[in-house]
């Protein structure tokens, strides 16, 4: 067999595992930390790897493939499962034909998320088995195992990663792909796939029996193993927490769980009976701990480890041994923070500088533009979930009545609008909301690393496809007032925003300019701008657009006319790409096109 050792991320390993499993169809919506799985799968032309507009559609597509007898993979970040939950819960009832694996990539610590929900709860809630790898080799192996379990038990299988498994790299042995045991064909089986009440009532007991069978299987599943060591301390753990515990307490006895739902009660009892103190090391919820307590077994868990945020080897050591790390140096307090920031030349900057200037209440959404929240722009007032900006604006308008007119706008990205904004905008039209929606159309899914979507004209695998026309789409929903603006023209854009915000009917402004990092639409900028030290008055207006290329230089001085100033603006030519916003904002004409980069 052709074997090759590579250093792979958990995400790359899952993609490899899906390929080796003979997956035929894979669907996902991008979301950190899951995005790279489909990106890596897209290299295999024998697999139909696709971006879906949202996670619900992605799962339904995978279900169709599975009902047709093909192995199917569906991938999403933790909050994506909320969107896909509707089909998931009933898929648990229908079961399937080709194996179906749903990857949920959770984000403890919220490195790039709005909450840190623990999706192990979904496995219990939807009554489906869940595997949890602790490194990249397991990420690959468990993907293969998940397909086998899926077909053997006629159930979808969830594969849960966390950011530290998805984005850490470790050594993986690659193998050749296998041919799945099932073959794609059309087979009618309405009793199984048509979930009318009469059929669903018959399927529910099947689900309950399946969970019992899976609990028995968990006792012999090789991914669950006891590692005997010192009998003073026993540790039950899974996923990345296993690695942290092994790092700081290698000599303890372990029950290392590869399957976190259902749990192997027998193995848990065998370990518990033979050790003096039993710990559960797990991130976020006491998911395993609560079930062990319900078995009547004494265990130390959340009294020793935090409920919030991710674990790390320091927290594992503190919880298991009660000792703090020995650090020759303490963390330095008060260092200037370095948060992520809108790129130089970002098309969102112009819009947010206007919204900030007009002091509007801005209902926001999920994407790069959420960074418009940060000072000095400070121009996002709500951000909760994909598509929520539109509903928030409608609800605010209905609650406040005419008082809200001219004071509220909603902003949403193109990809987010297509994900879950369309029905919300339909609701605005239907319920006669005076909502003004700005669609920040940068022609990509920027925050997750620039993925294609139905508005870009390209598929994940690089094929040209039909491109949705946003103007026609919003008009078809019944919006009568639709304006397209160039966000690099500040005065014009400001005028449009003011006018539309004061309209008592639904209106949409499409701010259209490609992401500056776009590979496809290289923007026309080029020449860096320069702030003339002879002309700059030190008024700081240009700093308010939060461009990383503009720097304040504190130095007492004066301009050419001898007007005193406390400092001046300076533009870093290696960062500036000549978008011209600062030049438009400067009232004194101090900024202009400078030397070529």
């Amino acid at each position: 067999m052709n074997q090759k050792r590579l250093v792979l991320s958990g995400n790359e390993a899952i993609a490899r595992g899906a390929f080796e499993s003979g997956v035929k169809v894979a669907s996902a919506y991008p979301g950190t930390p899951s995005t790279e799985i489909l990106e890596n799968l897209s290299q295999y032309r024998e697999i139909q790897a696709q971006w879906a507009p949202n996670e619900k559609v992605a799962l339904e597509t995978a279900m169709g493939a599975s009902f047709g007898g093909a192995r199917a993979l569906v991938v999403m970040k933790h909050v994506g499962v909320n969107v896909a939950a509707d089909p998931l819960f009933t898929l648990s009832y229908t079961g399937l034909r080709g194996g179906l694996v749903l990857v949920t990539a959770d984000d403890p610590e919220m490195h790039s998320s709005q909450n840190e929900q623990d999706n192990r709860n979904y496995a219990k809630f939807a009554k489906v088995p869940m595997l949890e790898p602790s490194d990249s080799q397991e990420a690959k192996d468990f993907t293969l195992t998940a397909f086998e379990i899926s077909e053997a038990f006629d159930t979808p299988v969830m594969l849960r990663t966390t950011t530290r498994v998805s984005h850490s790299k470790s050594i993986v042995v690659q193998e050749e792909p296998k041919t799945p045991p099932v073959r794609p064909e059309l087979v009618k089986d309405p009793g199984k796939f048509v979930m009318l009440p009469a059929n669903a009532r018959k399927r529910h007991p099947v689900v309950e029996k399946r969970m019992k069978d899976l609990a028995a299987f968990a006792e012999t599943f090789p991914g669950n193993r006891i590692e005997w060591g010192d009998r003073k301390v026993g540790i039950i753990t899974s996923g990345i927490s296993y690695q942290y515990a092994k790092e700081v307490y290698p000599q303890a006895s372990y029950l290392k769980l590869g399957m976190v739902h259902p749990l192997p009660a027998g193995m848990i009892r065998s370990l518990a009976e033979k050790v003096e103190t039993l710990f559960v090391v797990e991130e976020l919820d006491p998911f395993i701990e609560d079930q062990i307590r319900a078995m009547g077994i004494a265990v130390k868990g959340k009294e020793a480890f935090p409920l919030c945020g991710e674990l790390n080897p320091n927290l594992a050591e503190k919880g298991l041994k009660g000792i703090d790390a020995l650090r020759p140096n303490e963390p330095i307090q008060g260092l200037p923070p370095r948060p992520p920031i809108l790129c130089p030349g970002c098309p969102h900057r112009g819009i947010f500088s206007i919204l900030s200037k007009l002091k509007l209440f801005v209902t926001g959404d999920i994407g790069c533009y959420t960074l418009g929240f940060l000072p000095p722009l400070s121009a996002i007032d709500t951000c909760v979930c994909m598509g929520a900006s539109i509903g928030h604006a409608l609800g605010l308008g209905k609650a406040l009545g005419p008082e809200a007119l001219g004071k509220v706008v909603a902003v949403i990205g193109d990809s987010t609008f297509l994900h879950s904004g369309i029905t919300s905008l339909l609701n605005v039209v239907y319920n006669k909301g005076a909502v003004t929606l700005i669609i920040l159309d940068n022609r990509t899914t920027a925050m997750t690393g620039r993925q294609d979507h139905p508005g870009t004209g390209f598929t994940l695998q690089g094929d040209e496809t039909t491109q949705v026309d946003l103007i026609k789409l919003v008009k078809a929903l019944g919006v009568k007032h639709v304006k397209q603006v160039n966000p690099y023209r500040l005065a014009e854009t400001e005028k449009v925003i003011k006018r539309e915000a004061n309209r008592s009917e639904p209106s949409v402004i499409i701010s259209r300019a490609p992401c500056v990092l776009s590979r496809r639409d290289r923007s026309a900028f080029g020449e860096a701008y320069q702030a003339d030290p002879e002309v700059c008055r030190g008024c700081r207006s240009c700093l308010r657009i939060a461009c990383p290329a503009i720097e304040w230089i504190t130095e007492e001085g004066a301009d050419r006319e001898g007007r005193k100033r406390k400092g001046r603006a300076s533009i870093d030519p290696s960062l500036c790409n000549g978008c011209s916003l600062c030049a438009q904002i400067c009232k004194f004409g101090a900024i202009g096109e400078g030397h070529a980069k």
Partner: protein, 193 residues
């Protein structure tokens, strides 16, 4: 208590400086040199000019992909302020490689915060071995400023028990042929600095 057979390398800096590529070459190199290796960083929002840190660990057997605070053997700081942000990760006898470059974070650009002074001095006091690298100047000598990360990789390579040929082979594998010359030169400039 710590597992002394594992070497902990922490790379810190700012999104866009090429830290992740450098750490990937490192991980591939350790694999080829026969070690177990793990590395970890967070993607996503980090690419928007934010603070970036990558943990690389190698040895006979590595469990955690994250380094414990107080146990970093080698710190490679691509940017001065970022070195200070991770000072508590330094072990008792660390090697510190500092790229002499200051990139202002937004609050400093806005004139609200001051960029800390005397960073090199305080770092050298915490380090058993300390090396300053004029990374930007060296990278410019290759004709491509983007080779900064490979200059720093060269600098750290001189402290690591891996044959030079394995390093250069993994650097070549990472880049298209037209970038080979500049990156090999960058590696040598860093290694000899």
């Amino acid at each position: 208590m710590r597992n002394n057979s594992v070497t902990n390398i922490l790379l810190v800096g700012v999104g866009g400086q090429g830290i992740i590529v450098a750490s990937e070459i490192m991980a591939d190199t350790f694999l080829e040199a026969g070690y177990d290796v793990k590395k970890s960083e967070v993607h996503g929002m980090a690419q928007r000019g934010g603070s970036v840190s990558t943990h690389v660990r190698f040895g006979p057997k590595v469990f955690s992909p994250l380094i414990k605070e107080g146990e970093t053997d080698i710190l490679v700081a691509f940017e001065e302020l970022e070195a200070m942000r991770y000072l508590h990760y330094l072990g008792p006898k660390p090697t510190v490689i500092l790229n002499e470059q200051r990139l202002n974070p937004p609050s400093v650009s806005l004139g609200k915060d001051r960029y800390p002074e005397n960073i090199a001095d305080s770092l050298s006091r915490s380090a058993a071995r300390f090396k300053k690298i004029a990374g930007k100047d060296l990278a410019l000598r290759t004709g491509d400023i983007r080779t900064l990360n490979i200059v720093l990789l060269g600098a750290v390579s001189s402290f690591l028990p891996v044959a030079e040929a394995i390093w250069t082979e993994n650097i070549l594998r990472r880049f298209p042929p037209k970038a080979h010359k500049a990156n090999l030169e960058a590696f040598q400039l860093g290694r000899k600095a």
